[in-house]
């Protein structure tokens, strides 16, 4: 867990943190889907939209679990990373216009693993019984997501013959 990661002092804090993690993941996958749309990589648009939808379901589920409590507003106050990013945020800097569904799923797997690690550590440090209970549920959920990524990676293997060594459509550089 990064030094600036928020701490869950209560159950509502944990709801807010979990909500923000999923909301950030939705934002990143949506941005990546939009990028791939603009760069005419339709296979990747589908993968990133599906990932955004899946994270959105999880985000909404957390809201429902929190009942009447305004998780989004509380997240604005307590679920802040001031230096790093929340753990499930895909790395936009690693995107490439020729990336394959396999690359995208590797990116998603890394994000799910960071989230799993985050909740595991949170569970390990939690003292409040309710926080522990929810953290354990979140660990279970993220474990499922990691397993799902592994299964999807089998369905979307790397391109036969590996990635082309060079860019087959190199930037029309004047350089």
């Amino acid at each position: 867990m990064s030094a600036d990661a928020p701490r869950a002092a209560s159950l509502v804090d944990l709801y807010a943190i979990a909500y923000q993690i999923e909301a950030d993941a939705v934002e990143r996958y949506t941005m990546l889907a939009d990028q791939m749309e603009m760069h005419n990589n339709p296979a990747l648009v589908d993968v990133f939209r599906d990932l955004a939808r899946a994270e959105g379901i999880h985000r909404d589920q957390i809201c429902r679990m929190a009942g009447d409590f305004d998780v989004a507003a509380h997240a604005h106050k307590v679920a802040r990373w001031r230096i790093g990013e929340s753990p499930e945020s895909a790395d936009l800097g690693a995107a490439q216009y020729l990336m394959t569904p396999h690359d995208a799923l590797q990116m998603a797997l890394a994000a799910e693993q960071r989230a799993l690690e985050f909740f595991r550590e949170l569970l390990g440090n939690a003292v409040d019984a309710d926080v522990r209970h929810l953290a354990a549920e979140l660990v279970e959920e993220e474990t499922g997501h990691v397993a799902l990524c592994h299964r999807l990676l089998l369905r979307y293997p790397p391109p036969a013959g590996g990635r082309p060594a060079g860019d087959p459509d190199p930037p029309a550089s004047q350089a």
């Binding site: 990028q35 760069h39 800097g93 690693a94 216009y97 029309a172 350089a175």
Partner: protein, 277 residues
């Protein structure tokens, strides 16, 4: 611009519906995120913000934002922004530029904007290249960066924007890295709040013409010392650092530019008479 928004704006409220056309992996996506987060944190509503830019990939930012925007002439964004801030001091004015836009064609404006110290924030997305026009060297390109346009490199020593800003009178100087949008947003918040001309250099990789810059994420580090209010000391520090020190480096205390007191001429005919020879 949206007519009705919730009282407290969220970062997404500052995004327009236009989808960016930057290359996937470009650092400018993160800078856009940092802008929206900073405005949400500052609590300024979209109609209280103006983002002014010049020309370049980096200068496309106003199109992607829901606030007042001006996509201006190459290198002239600071002149437009200074005029806007002087006549509309109520607006939060942020200028977005690139190393070509801001240091080549706009280099002279940069010097005088620092000197004038109008209360605005200048963000230069530095990728040490002209991205939009396909990879020509800029004033911050390394001398040995080899391209067909500059075989063997330009051989010319790069410009040192932070030192120039300090020597010219900028009142706040910071360096950020696009790959850390949360930290960049925090620096932007401070830059906007600091009175006078705030200069923020954001190292923002061009993954297409400078794929080597993908490695910047492993090179950046926090500045080992706190910001100073001594411009000479700050200049010495940035001249001897490795170019990857991040954080607020200088907070000055010069009063921002204030237009001379007296009656402002708002009538065009009267203004024309003033200039009659």
């Amino acid at each position: 611009m949206s007519a009705t928004l919730a009282p407290a704006c969220r970062p997404a409220d500052y995004r327009s519906a236009v989808k960016p056309i930057w290359c996937p992996g470009c650092g400018d996506y993160h800078v856009l995120m940092a802008f929206t987060r900073a405005f949400a944190e500052l609590g300024v509503r979209p109609e209280q913000v103006a983002v002014v830019s010049g020309i370049g990939c980096s200068s496309r930012i106003p199109a992607y934002m829901n606030c007042y925007g001006f996509h201006g002439v190459h290198g002239r964004s600071l002149a437009v922004a200074a005029g806007l801030k002087i006549v509309r001091p109520d607006l939060t004015v942020v200028v977005a530029s690139g190393d070509g836009d801001g240091y080549s064609i706009g280099g002279n404006h940069f010097l005088h904007a620092c000197r004038r110290n109008v209360d605005l924030t200048y963000v230069v997305m530095d990728n040490h290249i002209y991205g939009m026009t396909k990879g020509q060297p800029s004033p911050t390109t390394e001398p040995d960066f080899d391209t067909a346009l500059a075989p063997g490199g330009t051989g010319v020593r790069p410009f040192h924007p932070l030192v120039i800003a300090l020597a010219s009178g900028a009142n706040f100087v910071a360096r950020a890295f696009s790959g850390n949008p949360a930290e960049t947003a925090g620096i932007l918040v401070e830059a906007v709040r600091h009175p006078g001309f705030s200069f923020v250099e954001v190292l923002s990789p061009c993954v297409t013409y400078r794929p080597d810059q993908r490695a910047w994420k492993d090179r950046v580090h926090r500045a080992p010392v706190d910001a100073t209010d001594d411009a000479a000391r700050a200049a010495r520090r940035v001249m001897t650092d490795d170019g990857f020190n991040l954080g607020v480096l200088y907070r000055g205390n010069r009063p921002p530019y204030a237009p001379p007191a007296g009656k402002a001429i708002t009538d065009l005919a009267e203004l024309e008479r003033e200039f009659e020879l």
